[in-house]
Symmetry: C2
Amino acid sequence: MSSQPEHPTLLIPGPIEFDDAVLHSMSHYSESHVGPGFVSTFGDVLAALRRLFQTTDPASQPFVISGSGTLGWDLVAANLVEAGEAALVLGTGYFSDGFADCLRVYGADVTELKAPVGSRPQLAEIEAALKTRAYKLLTVTHVDTSTGVLSELRALSELVHRVSPDTLVIVDGVCSVACEEIAFDAWGLDGVVTASQKAIGVPAGLSISMFSGRAIQTLERRKTPPAAYFASLKNWLPIMRNYEAKKPSYFATPSPQLVHALDTALKQILSAPLAERFAKHKAASDKIKAAVTKLGLKQVAANPDDQAHGMTAIYLPESIQISQILPRLSSKNIVFAGGIHKEIATKYIRFGHMGVSILNPERGDIDRALKALEAGLAECGYQKA
Amino acid sequence: MSSQPEHPTLLIPGPIEFDDAVLHSMSHYSESHVGPGFVSTFGDVLAALRRLFQTTDPASQPFVISGSGTLGWDLVAANLVEAGEAALVLGTGYFSDGFADCLRVYGADVTELKAPVGSRPQLAEIEAALKTRAYKLLTVTHVDTSTGVLSELRALSELVHRVSPDTLVIVDGVCSVACEEIAFDAWGLDGVVTASQKAIGVPAGLSISMFSGRAIQTLERRKTPPAAYFASLKNWLPIMRNYEAKKPSYFATPSPQLVHALDTALKQILSAPLAERFAKHKAASDKIKAAVTKLGLKQVAANPDDQAHGMTAIYLPESIQISQILPRLSSKNIVFAGGIHKEIATKYIRFGHMGVSILNPERGDIDRALKALEAGLAECGYQKA
């Protein structure tokens, strides 16, 4: 039984439902951000992130900074690319467009390789693009939260290293870290930026990232200073190194309460093999996608190999509006999200299935959501063709 | 009685001790950041901020963004000044230096008018400086947390409007909002940036700011786009307007838990006249400063008129090191902060006295702190000269 008051079950692609202990950590009594207790906790969190991202290379560097997930784009754009340098953005939807916009703000010369809605750029096109010029970095949205399209990181990273070995491989992992496998070292990634409120299961408010030794060298060898101040990795680098060495350090005040919640969540995540966690998300996702298909509905991510395991973007039957179905679900205490991809926003809904809703099946969240979806569609007059 | 577990009393100049109800709001169950419940709460928070800053001008615009207080400097530097334009920074210590650094990162041509340690630039020098060139904006650190020096905003703003009417008056109010009076409209301010974890009494993690209609016009009339992405006020402006109109809107995910805590804190703050709140902080500050003087100790802020009311920076007797006195205080369950101003960092300590420690005198925080300071100094061998 949860100690939280009864409330609608939040099944959007982040924020997600919280574990009681994680939520309880949010009300930790006040501590100094440079006192030994909090410094030790923050150090533990940074060390735990290395395990979550599967990196043992001591040159890798985790960062935890107060902000939304979006701040992660600024960390990349203001620090790892300089004005006029080329960036290749793999276009999968709303969120890759946002990353491209952010890169442009800081002066990168951005090429977007856009895939049709519901798919992702293919390796052959990416290889061709990489051969046309020297890209400083490539960005890929691991799961584009606007479409539920999953990108394949391992083969992509291998391709980049083979065809354009100086190009940094940067992953937007906001909707993938802690529910999709990410093997930072083994796959040769240079940066993964994410946020606290999706599969990690902590309230929103933290930008969480991991950068490779090569990315940190790129930062240190810049010809110009980082193009932002709060988002300057140069300002944060000594702070993160000190916290991990359990030494007090100050650039800007972190949020002890959110960091405590992250500490609790990471301890829970790392108490079981990560492979098991990913497998559970995959199994639940398979079940959800089968149920959606059985209802006669199509997914935005058309190809089964490209479908994310922590969310499902579902096209509505043509006769049904978002403004009809979401209130029906809400009356059954289930909260889904509307569409966000501008080309199809009014035509689909998004179902997030990450964290405790998957790992604690005794909550019954997924079964209740699927039943509510079926009943809600029927109430809207939908009959399977 | 507090429902929080026993813990050392945190009396640093932020974060501060939390009220139980505020802290309890941090463990609010998960909600959609675009759902009607949260949107309504966020709207209430923005409206309440207008009252806290004492602005009724509908052109004024509040912003609440996930981040540290430092992000407020980026909001000013990336949005209200363009590359090559002149900014005048009133130099009062570590934090005005930081603001100057941030402005330079985004290309402002910064002049720092530095005062000697423990004081602030005087109006006559500021007037002379304003006459030398056309400054796009002037920044003043209302309370420099590194020295406890309080700047006088009303006369300063009047001077700027008289001598250089096109110059925006920007206030770093991180250590002053909610403990020092700020009359945004009456004093003709153009921007005040602050954070959640000081006198507002909410856990760290929110950048909170108010900008005037004139500042928003400056933003809208930029010749170049804002120089940051996450810190772009252009990206946030429609979002804040929508939230206040209780309409869902999305740029980057806010932190519902921190916003709930801010909602609770603002309701408490606004339940009594603000003048009463400021008077209580002043009375407690006067008592603390008298006790410090009685102990034979000097303050970093030398002139009584320049002394902040939410913190006191105290020079240690020459024979006593920070590494001796802070552990003594800690053993008495009192946490003070060390020095941070680089010219004098090893020579002084900082005592924060804001929020519940002042407003709930039955907690006894201040009396215990003063007793611990006296006893701790005696244990270190100090005898009043």
